[in-house]
Amino acid sequence: MAISCDPLNVVICGVGGQGNILISGLIGNALMKTGYHVTIGETFGASQRGGAVFSTLRISTKRRYGPLIPQGKAHLILGLEPLETLRMLQQYGNPGVVCVANTHPILTIGALSEKEEYPDSSELKKAIVKLSRLAWFVDATGIASKLGATIVVNIIMVGALIGSDQIALKKEDVENEMWNTFPHGKMKLNLRALEMGINNIKL
């Protein structure tokens, strides 16, 4: 049992409704059962309605840490949406940070009503690469659409995180937690989503 840093600081970010809290629980539970001290900080309340949301995970072999990650001290960012990934990078990034990000944008309300510009996709991607030591990308929303259920974007991203091999997270452990979480009728779709995430990430 080893982690590259202690505590290992992970940010999971996205837009309210994407299932951010659900996957922080899946990952946290899987790691807890492997023997780590896990603390998860969540932001929820009114922000769950389409607002920016993020969870912070602190994983340690030594003790229970507080839930918040200091500025510039994330080791890993799992981004369910590219703009939110960049927002978190600006706050928690550092030259050593690794990103695993969905490439599919969700426009902001300001961008929809033409009051603000949503940044160009390729510019966003470039900025994420520039601010990271390593950046993996996956079109999780595209894959989810092909599977016929955009709701599984979050599970595809957990797969992508496993596929990146940046964290001691085993596929079997996550699958076990999924069996504990989802109705069994939904498992076939979710297991497929996890698999697709593992196999489709690109540097």
Binding site: G25, H37, T43, P70, G93, L112
Partner: protein, 608 residues
Amino acid sequence: MIKLLSGNEALAMGAYHAGVKVATAYPGTPSTEILESLARHDDIYAEWSTNEKVAMEVAMGAAFAGIRSLVSLKQVGLNVASDPFMAASTMAVNAGIVIACADDPGIHSSQNEQDDRHYAKLAKVPMLEPSDSQEAYEFMSYAFDISERFDIPTLMLTTTRISHSKSVVQVRQEQTPPAKQADFHYDVEKYVMLPVYAQLRYSLIEERLTKLAAFAETFPFNQVSWGERHLGIITSGVAYQYAREVFPQASFLKLGMTYPLPKNLLLNFAAQVHRLLVIEELDPFLQENIQALGIKVTGKEFIPRTGELNVDIIEKASRSVGLLPEISSQPLKDMSIKLPKRPPQLCPGCPHTGIFFTLSTLGKRSSLTKSQVKTAKESPLVITGDIGCYTLGTYSPFNAMDTCACMGASIGNALGMEKTGIAKKLIAVIGDSTFMHSGITGLVNAVYSEGQITIVILDNRTTAMTGHQDHPGTGISAQGKKTRAIDLEQLVRGIGVSDVRVVDAFNMKQLRNAVRGAVDSTELSVIIVRGTCAMLAPKGSASMVIDAEKCNLCGICLQLGCSAIQRGKKQLYIDSALCAGDRCTICQQICPRQAIHLKSRVESVKLL
């Protein structure tokens, strides 16, 4: 057995294992999940009370009858419950009663940032503050024991960061103790607070406080951990976690019980360190009470009194007074791309969208912006608001809310403005759950005072913002049982309102006529806007699509603020995965060119 639990889940499990049999609450972020977790146990009684005052009174009743009870609420909820809370602290409680109260430093989801630790001092009750989920779990059995031993309610105080963070909990037992036989014993000196009996209580209350202070000296979670002696830190709650990360070498006195304070423990700790510091969130509660014991201590001179603390803020504050060395490095940032903000918004298919669009257009409010400060000049309507998802109607594109103070305030605020003789029509907007919570008394007052205001009750059949809890209007209990539903329309008519209109939240014509009629009326009116919350209703079988040939990009549909309606490079389109389709149809109803129509979801995907 280990479990990954949020602070709230841990509090609930702790209470359950401590033998709580009656649990009451009104939903409020960040405290909601305490009762939600308890309600899953069918061997106890759990209820969503109408409001926090009622919740407190029900819990007191259970305790009087010898049964352990728990009230859970958020910081402003304790304001609502403060009358029975003060009463409970004056009289005797008999069985254990614990008030689990969650503060919200940083105002993540509240209307204020009040520090409820002051309530412990005001009510002269013991207060425990857990610093993680393990302590939240463990403290509960202590809280009940203290309550019974000293015949007093115990305040269990958490913050958003404790309530909503998850950490690993070692769970002791899986069983809850068996229920005791409830009974009540006549004792008017303890239970009837007539002046003659209440006067007798006060010497007992002071005596009890002295005994509690002695108990605090031995409370096992008031812990000293010795590090280097040049810096000693007194702290509690989540601030302990941050302080320990900033000063890993320092000595700590971590207080699990923060009222009353353990004087000797504090004096002893202070005497053995060179410099003494208090690190706490919000007000200097610990600091001032420690200073009152004659101990020299600093903290709030440089640690902020407002907002949530974190490691960065404590580090920066400590550098400013030389507790840590200065550093110059800045976190790496690339600001070449300006990131648009992402505020929360109403869901696609939300039953509030139509009424806010109506109020916004009839009230000529869509062009109101922050720069035009005097909104009243621009709009013929003043819209007093209330607390719920619908407070989002404040934001662009609706700009349809002028005030939002506290639960139920919309009706009183509207009446007060009207009674000044203001030349604008007053409309109060309030949700169904909020109306049940504290709108009813405001409406009684408005009818009695012959107000001419309009009250719009947004009846989405749930308490949506806190995560869809039931309330008296839904007819379902906290434990999922069918119960009696209170009929809103009958209730309003019973109060004496004769101009009551019940309209379909998704029928724009009905909404417009109702608001127009109410604005023109000279008597008090109530509009009940009925439509199920989008997150509880199944999506329609079809999705809306925009016919690009008919659409002239006028942008009126964008004024709905619906996130399903998207702007492509050259045309507007509707995301079929988000659209509520034939359940909503509001965009179709308002499109001046009839360019929006329904298509089956399969076909609408093909179009994209």
